[in-house]
Protein backbone atom coordinates (compact mmCIF):
# COMPACT_ATOMS: atom_id res chain seq x y z
CA UNK A 1 0.00 0.00 0.00
CA UNK A 2 1.27 3.45 -0.88
CA UNK A 3 0.09 7.04 -1.13
CA UNK A 4 0.75 8.40 -4.61
CA UNK A 5 1.32 12.14 -4.49
CA UNK A 6 -0.38 13.78 -7.47
CA UNK A 7 -0.06 17.36 -6.19
CA UNK A 8 1.99 18.00 -3.04
CA UNK A 9 0.27 21.28 -2.04
CA UNK A 10 2.51 23.77 -0.23
CA UNK A 11 5.38 22.48 1.94
CA UNK A 12 3.44 19.31 2.83
CA UNK A 13 5.69 17.20 5.03
CA UNK A 14 5.82 13.84 6.75
CA UNK A 15 5.64 14.43 10.51
CA UNK A 16 5.25 12.39 13.66
CA UNK A 17 5.61 13.64 17.23
CA UNK A 18 9.25 14.65 16.70
CA UNK A 19 12.80 13.72 17.69
CA UNK A 20 13.43 15.12 21.19
CA UNK A 21 16.87 14.57 22.69
CA UNK A 22 19.16 16.31 20.19
CA UNK A 23 18.32 19.98 20.70
CA UNK A 24 21.56 20.49 22.66
CA UNK A 25 23.37 19.47 19.45
CA UNK A 26 21.36 21.95 17.39
CA UNK A 27 18.95 19.36 15.94
CA UNK A 28 15.43 20.68 16.52
CA UNK A 29 12.71 18.57 18.10
CA UNK A 30 10.65 18.68 14.87
CA UNK A 31 7.31 16.90 14.59
CA UNK A 32 3.78 18.15 13.98
CA UNK A 33 3.19 21.85 14.71
CA UNK A 34 -0.23 20.86 16.14
CA UNK A 35 0.61 17.61 17.88
CA UNK A 36 -2.89 17.35 19.36
CA UNK A 37 -4.43 17.08 15.88
CA UNK A 38 -1.72 14.66 14.70
CA UNK A 39 -2.37 12.37 17.72
CA UNK A 40 -6.13 12.39 17.15
CA UNK A 41 -5.76 11.64 13.41
CA UNK A 42 -3.66 8.60 14.33
CA UNK A 43 -6.13 7.45 17.01
CA UNK A 44 -8.98 7.55 14.48
CA UNK A 45 -7.24 5.11 12.12
CA UNK A 46 -6.03 2.74 14.85
CA UNK A 47 -2.37 3.83 14.76
CA UNK A 48 -0.10 4.45 17.68
CA UNK A 49 -0.23 8.19 18.35
CA UNK A 50 3.39 8.65 17.32
CA UNK A 51 2.90 7.16 13.84
CA UNK A 52 3.93 9.36 10.92
CA UNK A 53 1.32 11.19 8.86
CA UNK A 54 1.20 14.25 6.63
CA UNK A 55 1.15 17.88 7.73
CA UNK A 56 -0.15 20.22 5.01
CA UNK A 57 -0.21 23.97 5.47
CA UNK A 58 -2.82 26.46 4.11
CA UNK A 59 -3.81 24.18 1.20
CA UNK A 60 -4.30 20.46 0.79
CA UNK A 61 -2.36 17.97 -1.34
CA UNK A 62 -3.95 15.60 -3.87
CA UNK A 63 -3.27 11.94 -3.15
CA UNK A 64 -4.23 8.64 -4.82
CA UNK A 65 -4.52 5.42 -2.80
CA UNK A 66 -2.99 2.26 -4.28
CA UNK A 67 -5.18 -0.08 -2.22
CA UNK A 68 -8.21 -0.04 0.08
CA UNK A 69 -7.40 1.59 3.40
CA UNK A 70 -8.65 4.01 6.06
CA UNK A 71 -7.69 7.65 6.55
CA UNK A 72 -8.56 10.52 8.87
CA UNK A 73 -8.12 14.27 8.41
CA UNK A 74 -7.91 16.59 11.44
CA UNK A 75 -6.63 20.06 12.25
CA UNK A 76 -7.69 23.11 10.24
CA UNK A 77 -11.26 23.44 8.93
CA UNK A 78 -11.06 22.63 5.20
CA UNK A 79 -13.43 20.69 2.94
CA UNK A 80 -12.16 17.10 2.52
CA UNK A 81 -13.03 15.49 -0.83
CA UNK A 82 -12.88 11.82 -1.81
CA UNK A 83 -13.18 11.60 -5.62
CA UNK A 84 -14.68 15.10 -5.53
CA UNK A 85 -17.38 14.25 -2.96
CA UNK A 86 -17.15 16.03 0.39
CA UNK A 87 -16.40 13.74 3.36
CA UNK A 88 -16.29 14.57 7.08
CA UNK A 89 -13.07 15.54 8.84
CA UNK A 90 -12.13 14.24 12.35
CA UNK A 91 -13.66 10.92 11.18
CA UNK A 92 -12.28 7.51 10.17
CA UNK A 93 -12.99 7.25 6.43
CA UNK A 94 -12.78 4.13 4.24
CA UNK A 95 -11.10 4.76 0.89
CA UNK A 96 -10.77 2.33 -2.02
CA UNK A 97 -7.93 1.54 -4.35
CA UNK A 98 -7.66 4.25 -7.03
CA UNK A 99 -9.67 6.84 -5.12
CA UNK A 100 -8.27 10.35 -4.78
CA UNK A 101 -8.17 12.62 -1.75
CA UNK A 102 -8.26 16.37 -2.40
CA UNK A 103 -9.28 19.52 -0.55
CA UNK A 104 -11.32 22.69 -1.00
CA UNK A 105 -10.36 26.16 0.24
CA UNK A 106 -9.11 26.51 3.82
CA UNK A 107 -11.73 28.06 6.12
CA UNK A 108 -10.16 28.43 9.57
CA UNK A 109 -6.91 27.19 11.07
CA UNK A 110 -3.67 26.67 9.16
CA UNK A 111 -2.49 23.05 9.25
CA UNK A 112 -4.18 19.86 8.11
CA UNK A 113 -3.18 16.43 9.43
CA UNK A 114 -3.72 13.31 7.34
CA UNK A 115 -3.27 9.92 9.00
CA UNK A 116 -3.45 6.63 7.09
CA UNK A 117 -4.02 3.23 8.71
CA UNK A 118 -0.60 1.70 9.39
CA UNK A 119 1.15 5.09 9.25
CA UNK A 120 3.73 6.29 6.73
CA UNK A 121 6.81 4.09 6.99
CA UNK A 122 9.64 6.07 5.41
CA UNK A 123 13.00 5.45 7.18
CA UNK A 124 13.52 7.00 10.59
CA UNK A 125 16.33 9.51 11.18
CA UNK A 126 17.46 9.96 14.80
CA UNK A 127 14.39 8.09 15.99
CA UNK A 128 11.76 9.99 14.01
CA UNK A 129 10.29 10.23 10.50
CA UNK A 130 9.62 13.96 10.92
CA UNK A 131 10.92 16.07 8.04
CA UNK A 132 13.54 18.72 8.81
CA UNK A 133 14.39 20.04 5.32
CA UNK A 134 17.14 22.46 6.42
CA UNK A 135 19.05 19.57 8.00
CA UNK A 136 17.93 17.09 5.29
CA UNK A 137 16.63 14.75 8.02
CA UNK A 138 13.61 12.43 7.90
CA UNK A 139 10.76 12.70 5.37
CA UNK A 140 11.60 11.55 1.86
CA UNK A 141 15.39 11.83 1.61
CA UNK A 142 15.23 14.77 4.00
CA UNK A 143 12.74 16.82 1.99
CA UNK A 144 9.03 17.66 1.82
CA UNK A 145 6.80 15.51 -0.37
CA UNK A 146 6.77 16.11 -4.15
CA UNK A 147 4.56 15.13 -7.09
CA UNK A 148 5.34 11.56 -8.16
CA UNK A 149 6.36 10.34 -4.67
CA UNK A 150 4.90 7.01 -3.53
CA UNK A 151 4.83 7.07 0.28
CA UNK A 152 5.03 3.58 1.81
CA UNK A 153 2.59 2.70 4.60
CA UNK A 154 2.64 0.01 7.32
CA UNK A 155 0.16 -2.71 8.18
CA UNK A 156 -3.14 -1.42 9.44
CA UNK A 157 -4.57 -2.30 12.84
CA UNK A 158 -8.26 -2.39 13.70
CA UNK A 159 -10.17 0.68 12.46
CA UNK A 160 -13.79 1.59 13.24
CA UNK A 161 -14.95 3.24 10.02
CA UNK A 162 -17.18 6.22 10.80
CA UNK A 163 -15.75 6.76 14.28
CA UNK A 164 -15.44 10.49 14.85
CA UNK A 165 -14.41 13.08 17.41
CA UNK A 166 -17.16 15.65 18.15
CA UNK A 167 -16.30 19.32 17.53
CA UNK A 168 -16.56 20.02 21.28
CA UNK A 169 -13.39 17.93 21.64
CA UNK A 170 -11.41 19.74 18.91
CA UNK A 171 -8.87 22.25 20.12
CA UNK A 172 -8.47 25.38 17.99
CA UNK A 173 -7.37 28.94 18.87
CA UNK A 174 -9.92 31.69 19.63
CA UNK A 175 -9.99 35.06 17.78
CA UNK A 176 -7.95 36.91 18.78
CA UNK A 177 -5.77 33.94 19.74
CA UNK A 178 -4.65 34.12 23.37
CA UNK A 179 -1.14 32.75 23.78
CA UNK A 180 -0.25 32.16 27.41
CA UNK A 181 3.39 32.68 28.38
CA UNK A 182 5.63 32.36 31.40
CA UNK A 183 8.01 35.31 31.81
CA UNK A 184 11.64 34.32 31.48
CA UNK A 185 15.15 35.12 32.65
CA UNK A 186 15.46 38.27 30.52
CA UNK A 187 12.07 39.87 31.24
CA UNK A 188 13.91 42.31 33.57
CA UNK A 189 15.58 43.83 30.48
CA UNK A 190 12.27 45.59 29.65
CA UNK A 191 11.10 48.73 31.37
CA UNK A 192 7.98 48.08 33.47
CA UNK A 193 5.82 50.18 31.11
CA UNK A 194 7.16 48.35 28.05
CA UNK A 195 6.45 44.94 29.61
CA UNK A 196 2.85 45.99 30.29
CA UNK A 197 2.52 47.40 26.77
CA UNK A 198 3.75 44.11 25.23
CA UNK A 199 0.97 42.23 27.05
CA UNK A 200 -1.67 44.89 26.24
CA UNK A 201 -0.92 45.18 22.53
CA UNK A 202 -2.67 43.21 19.82
CA UNK A 203 -0.15 41.56 17.48
CA UNK A 204 -0.72 40.01 14.06
CA UNK A 205 0.86 36.88 12.58
CA UNK A 206 3.44 37.92 9.96
CA UNK A 207 3.15 36.09 6.60
CA UNK A 208 6.69 34.73 6.90
CA UNK A 209 5.79 32.66 10.00
CA UNK A 210 6.78 29.02 9.44
CA UNK A 211 7.82 25.80 11.20
CA UNK A 212 10.99 27.44 12.57
CA UNK A 213 9.28 30.38 14.15
CA UNK A 214 6.10 32.40 14.22
CA UNK A 215 6.76 36.10 13.82
CA UNK A 216 4.28 38.74 15.01
CA UNK A 217 4.05 42.43 14.23
CA UNK A 218 1.85 45.40 14.96
CA UNK A 219 2.65 46.04 18.63
CA UNK A 220 4.83 48.83 20.01
CA UNK A 221 8.63 48.59 19.88
CA UNK A 222 10.02 47.39 23.21
CA UNK A 223 11.92 49.73 25.52
CA UNK A 224 14.91 48.37 27.38
CA UNK A 225 16.41 49.25 30.73
CA UNK A 226 19.75 51.03 30.21
CA UNK A 227 22.82 48.92 30.87
CA UNK A 228 26.47 48.57 30.05
CA UNK A 229 26.65 46.04 27.16
CA UNK A 230 28.05 42.77 28.56
CA UNK A 231 31.34 41.56 27.12
CA UNK A 232 30.59 39.21 24.22
CA UNK A 233 27.08 40.49 23.51
CA UNK A 234 26.24 42.33 20.30
CA UNK A 235 25.67 46.08 20.32
CA UNK A 236 21.84 46.08 20.23
CA UNK A 237 19.93 46.34 23.53
CA UNK A 238 18.11 43.10 22.54
CA UNK A 239 21.43 41.21 22.35
CA UNK A 240 22.72 38.88 25.05
CA UNK A 241 25.86 36.83 25.41
CA UNK A 242 24.77 33.74 23.42
CA UNK A 243 22.40 31.51 25.35
CA UNK A 244 20.12 28.49 24.90
CA UNK A 245 16.59 28.83 23.53
CA UNK A 246 13.78 26.53 24.59
CA UNK A 247 10.87 25.33 22.44
CA UNK A 248 8.35 28.17 22.69
CA UNK A 249 10.87 30.91 23.54
CA UNK A 250 9.83 34.40 22.49
CA UNK A 251 12.79 36.32 21.07
CA UNK A 252 12.46 39.92 19.93
CA UNK A 253 15.38 40.92 17.66
CA UNK A 254 15.86 44.67 17.84
CA UNK A 255 12.87 44.86 20.21
CA UNK A 256 10.43 45.15 17.29
CA UNK A 257 8.84 41.85 16.21
CA UNK A 258 8.45 38.92 18.63
CA UNK A 259 9.23 35.47 17.20
CA UNK A 260 7.99 32.33 18.95
CA UNK A 261 10.44 29.51 18.25
CA UNK A 262 8.54 26.42 17.11
CA UNK A 263 9.26 22.78 16.18
CA UNK A 264 12.10 23.42 13.68
CA UNK A 265 13.76 26.28 15.57
CA UNK A 266 17.41 26.98 16.26
CA UNK A 267 18.54 25.98 19.75
CA UNK A 268 20.51 29.03 20.78
CA UNK A 269 21.70 32.49 19.86
CA UNK A 270 22.34 36.05 20.90
CA UNK A 271 18.88 37.57 21.31
CA UNK A 272 17.17 37.97 24.67
CA UNK A 273 13.91 36.05 25.14
CA UNK A 274 10.91 37.50 26.99
CA UNK A 275 9.84 34.09 28.21
CA UNK A 276 8.18 31.06 26.65
CA UNK A 277 4.71 30.16 25.41
CA UNK A 278 3.26 27.42 27.62
CA UNK A 279 3.36 23.93 26.10
CA UNK A 280 -0.46 23.65 26.06
CA UNK A 281 -0.70 26.64 23.69
CA UNK A 282 2.05 25.70 21.21
CA UNK A 283 -0.42 23.62 19.16
CA UNK A 284 -2.60 26.73 18.76
CA UNK A 285 0.28 28.57 17.09
CA UNK A 286 0.46 25.83 14.45
CA UNK A 287 -3.13 26.72 13.52
CA UNK A 288 -2.64 30.48 13.05
CA UNK A 289 -3.02 31.94 9.58
CA UNK A 290 -1.10 35.05 8.48
CA UNK A 291 -2.63 38.33 9.74
CA UNK A 292 -4.52 36.58 12.60
CA UNK A 293 -4.72 38.83 15.69
CA UNK A 294 -2.95 37.51 18.78
CA UNK A 295 -2.52 38.61 22.38
CA UNK A 296 0.07 37.38 24.84
CA UNK A 297 -1.06 36.65 28.40
CA UNK A 298 1.40 36.17 31.26
CA UNK A 299 0.60 33.20 33.54
CA UNK A 300 2.36 31.52 36.46
CA UNK A 301 4.17 28.19 36.21
CA UNK A 302 1.29 26.58 38.19
CA UNK A 303 -1.22 27.83 35.62
CA UNK A 304 1.01 26.55 32.80
CA UNK A 305 1.18 23.10 34.40
CA UNK A 306 -2.56 22.93 35.00
CA UNK A 307 -3.19 23.92 31.35
CA UNK A 308 -0.91 21.03 30.34
CA UNK A 309 -2.93 18.69 32.61
CA UNK A 310 -6.18 19.87 31.01
CA UNK A 311 -4.82 19.12 27.57
CA UNK A 312 -3.77 15.63 28.74
CA UNK A 313 -7.27 15.08 30.17
CA UNK A 314 -8.86 16.07 26.86
CA UNK A 315 -6.65 13.58 25.01
CA UNK A 316 -7.64 10.91 27.58
CA UNK A 317 -11.31 11.74 27.00
CA UNK A 318 -10.86 11.32 23.24
CA UNK A 319 -9.06 7.99 23.78
CA UNK A 320 -12.09 6.81 25.83
CA UNK A 321 -14.53 8.18 23.24
CA UNK A 322 -12.82 6.17 20.52
CA UNK A 323 -12.15 2.96 22.46
Amino acid sequence: MALNIINPGLSTSIQDLGRPGYFHLGIPIGGAMDRFSMRVANMLVGNSEDAAGLEAVFMGPEIEFTSDTAIAVTGADIPVMIDGVEAPSWTALAVSKGQKLSFGFLKTGARIYIAVAGGITTPEALGSRSTYPIGALGGIEGRNIAAGDALPTGSAGAVTIGASVPSTMHRMPATPAILRMVKGLYWHRLTEASGQQFLADEWKVAPEADRMGYRFRGGKTLEFVDREQPFGAGSDPSNIVDGCYSYGSIQVPGGTEPIVLHRDAVSGGGYFTLGAIISADMDYIGQLQPHTPVKFEAVSMDEALSARQERHKLLDAIRSELS
Binding site: L10, F58, P207, E208, Q289
Partner: protein, 77 residues
Protein backbone atom coordinates in the same frame (compact mmCIF):
# COMPACT_ATOMS: atom_id res chain seq x y z
CA UNK B 1 -18.04 36.27 -15.81
CA UNK B 2 -15.75 34.16 -13.71
CA UNK B 3 -13.82 34.78 -10.51
CA UNK B 4 -10.22 33.91 -9.69
CA UNK B 5 -9.79 32.87 -6.07
CA UNK B 6 -6.66 32.80 -3.94
CA UNK B 7 -5.68 29.18 -3.22
CA UNK B 8 -4.23 30.09 0.18
CA UNK B 9 -3.94 32.90 2.76
CA UNK B 10 -1.09 35.40 2.63
CA UNK B 11 -0.20 38.74 1.10
CA UNK B 12 -1.38 39.40 -2.46
CA UNK B 13 0.70 41.07 -5.19
CA UNK B 14 -0.56 41.82 -8.70
CA UNK B 15 2.85 42.79 -10.09
CA UNK B 16 5.79 40.41 -10.66
CA UNK B 17 8.08 42.79 -8.73
CA UNK B 18 7.83 46.35 -7.34
CA UNK B 19 7.48 49.03 -10.03
CA UNK B 20 6.55 46.60 -12.80
CA UNK B 21 3.15 46.64 -14.51
CA UNK B 22 0.39 44.33 -13.27
CA UNK B 23 0.27 40.75 -14.58
CA UNK B 24 -3.00 41.50 -16.42
CA UNK B 25 -4.92 44.63 -17.39
CA UNK B 26 -8.55 45.20 -18.35
CA UNK B 27 -9.50 43.80 -21.73
CA UNK B 28 -6.46 41.50 -21.97
CA UNK B 29 -7.20 37.90 -22.95
CA UNK B 30 -6.54 35.24 -20.31
CA UNK B 31 -5.77 31.58 -20.98
CA UNK B 32 -6.21 28.85 -18.40
CA UNK B 33 -2.96 28.61 -16.42
CA UNK B 34 -1.90 32.25 -16.94
CA UNK B 35 -0.32 33.83 -13.87
CA UNK B 36 -2.68 36.46 -12.41
CA UNK B 37 -0.83 37.34 -9.22
CA UNK B 38 1.45 36.21 -6.41
CA UNK B 39 0.70 35.22 -2.82
CA UNK B 40 3.53 35.63 -0.31
CA UNK B 41 3.51 33.30 2.65
CA UNK B 42 6.23 31.49 4.68
CA UNK B 43 8.99 33.38 2.82
CA UNK B 44 7.72 31.92 -0.49
CA UNK B 45 5.88 33.46 -3.43
CA UNK B 46 3.15 31.23 -4.89
CA UNK B 47 1.73 31.96 -8.33
CA UNK B 48 -2.04 32.31 -8.64
CA UNK B 49 -3.12 30.94 -12.01
CA UNK B 50 -6.32 31.42 -13.97
CA UNK B 51 -8.57 28.36 -13.72
CA UNK B 52 -10.59 29.34 -16.80
CA UNK B 53 -10.01 31.29 -20.01
CA UNK B 54 -11.65 34.67 -20.64
CA UNK B 55 -11.07 38.38 -20.87
CA UNK B 56 -9.51 40.12 -17.88
CA UNK B 57 -11.82 42.56 -16.14
CA UNK B 58 -10.21 43.80 -12.92
CA UNK B 59 -8.37 43.05 -9.71
CA UNK B 60 -10.71 43.31 -6.74
CA UNK B 61 -7.96 43.46 -4.09
CA UNK B 62 -5.24 46.10 -3.83
CA UNK B 63 -1.57 45.27 -4.19
CA UNK B 64 0.20 44.05 -1.01
CA UNK B 65 -3.09 43.38 0.82
CA UNK B 66 -3.82 40.38 3.07
CA UNK B 67 -5.99 37.69 1.48
CA UNK B 68 -7.80 34.61 2.79
CA UNK B 69 -7.94 31.23 1.07
CA UNK B 70 -10.83 31.23 -1.40
CA UNK B 71 -11.09 35.02 -1.48
CA UNK B 72 -11.79 36.46 -4.96
CA UNK B 73 -8.76 38.42 -6.18
CA UNK B 74 -9.72 39.15 -9.79
CA UNK B 75 -12.65 38.95 -12.17
CA UNK B 76 -12.78 37.80 -15.78
CA UNK B 77 -15.43 38.92 -18.28
Amino acid sequence: MSDIQSPLPGTFYFTPSPGEPAFKSAGESVSEGDVIGLIEVMKTFIEVKATAAGTFDSYVIDNEQPVQAGQVIAKLK
